[in-house]
Amino acid sequence: MELLNTLWQSTGLANFVFGQVIMMSVGGLLLYLAIAKDFEPLLLLPMGFGAILTNIPLAGFTEAGGLLHYIYETGIHTGVFPLIIFMGVGAMTDFGSLIANPKVLLLGAAAQLGIFATLFGAIALNAVPGIEFTLKDASAIAIIGGADGPTAIFLASKLAPDLLGAIAVAAYSYMALVPIIQPPIMRALTTEDERKIEMAQLRHVTKVEKIIFPLAVLLATIFFLPAATPLVGMFCLGNLMRESGVVDRLSSTSQNELINITTIFLGLGVGSKLSAEAFLNIQTLGILALGAIAFSIGTAGGVLMAKLMNKFSKIPINPLIGAAGVSAVPMAARVANKVGLEANPHNFLLMHAMGPNVAGVLGSAVAAGVLLSLVG
């Protein structure tokens, strides 16, 4: 009888805590969103599975000695995984459309309004009982508005590791929801005529320009914002490997195998932060709400800036491409293209929207650097 009791005590059923069951269902929900709804499946699938593993009673995945504990400590706590991913993103990025039309960098800057405005929201939420965000927490939450997964995880791991799970879930969920969140805002802020604007063809960008550009960005970051050099530096390394044309093997590895391997571990590591005690609280709800607001303000900031530029520019600018200033590459650019096609079936904005889109990646990395150096 004693033996039977011991055996029963070693089963999962006897040891489940209610919170763990809820968090396993959250993991299940993430798996459902990834598999059935195709929501950022590359990250949500390992993240959802990680959430399930984390909440298994007695298995000790996240305690010292557990697999997820080591994955988190080596890759996310140190900030290594998001940086490796950023290098891969750099190797996938073509700055051609940005160099051809450099003015769109202003759109990438305008869309960062979402990040800085959300700081207010996070501080204001402190009025709600049970929520207590410090300025560091607020900054880590606000970066969701940059719509850039690796940047959000990097900043959260430095400023507010306790909130990392919720921040990563919010960031990736909203990135998957870009096609649903952005179009109503874009339509509300533009007129039919503005959406119909066709843009001039982009000029040819030479190889020399594409090689010098990442080096110039790096140099500017070294001079003016060293706190952003981990993110910007890795991004520029990836991009230089791509554009130099002499290390195709390295470029191909960082945009395929390396980024895939890292994504698996990043997802699992973030999943390890989805434990009941860290996730099931009112703060998480606050973070999810703030993330949506940050996204919307960022989109609005980009569109309004593009409207303003269109008023003063000699060459017409379709305000829709401003919405692509939030990073979320290439989803946001595709959304701009789609909304543009609805208004004018001959208007292909994709290449024009890629400019602000990659400018947004640089902008959110710079914003993260500013927050790191002022708050961190």
Binding site: I99, L106, L225
Partner: protein, 96 residues
């Protein structure tokens, strides 16, 4: 709380100014460093394309019809021989 609001406001202002200034600097770099460089060092790929195009057009314009006919004849002859050879080979293989 109020203190935090003031700090958040300062961050909003300083952050946005800095992001604009930094990306503005990049606009400056692209317009005044990269664009002149692009003019100085145009893509070699484009140059070779132009060369090929030019050389093709001079060939077809400058070569006399007699030489074109001779080359055409030689090519046809070579092709015939080649196919004959390969046919012979397949025959041989079939016999074996």
């Amino acid at each position: 709380m109020n203190q935090l609001f003031i700090e958040a406001g300062t961050l909003l202002f300083v952050g946005m100014v800095f992001v604009y200034a930094f990306l503005g600097l990049l606009i400056f770099i692209i317009n005044f460093v990269l664009a002149p460089l692009a003019k100085k060092f145009p893509d070699p790929v484009v140059q070779t394309k132009v060369k090929k195009f030019v050389s093709k057009s001079t060939l077809s314009n400058g070569v006399s019809p007699a030489i074109v006919a001779a080359i055409t004849g030689a090519v046809t002859q070579y092709r015939q021989q080649h196919t004959n050879l390969s046919i012979n080979k397949t025959h041989l293989k079939a016999k074996q």
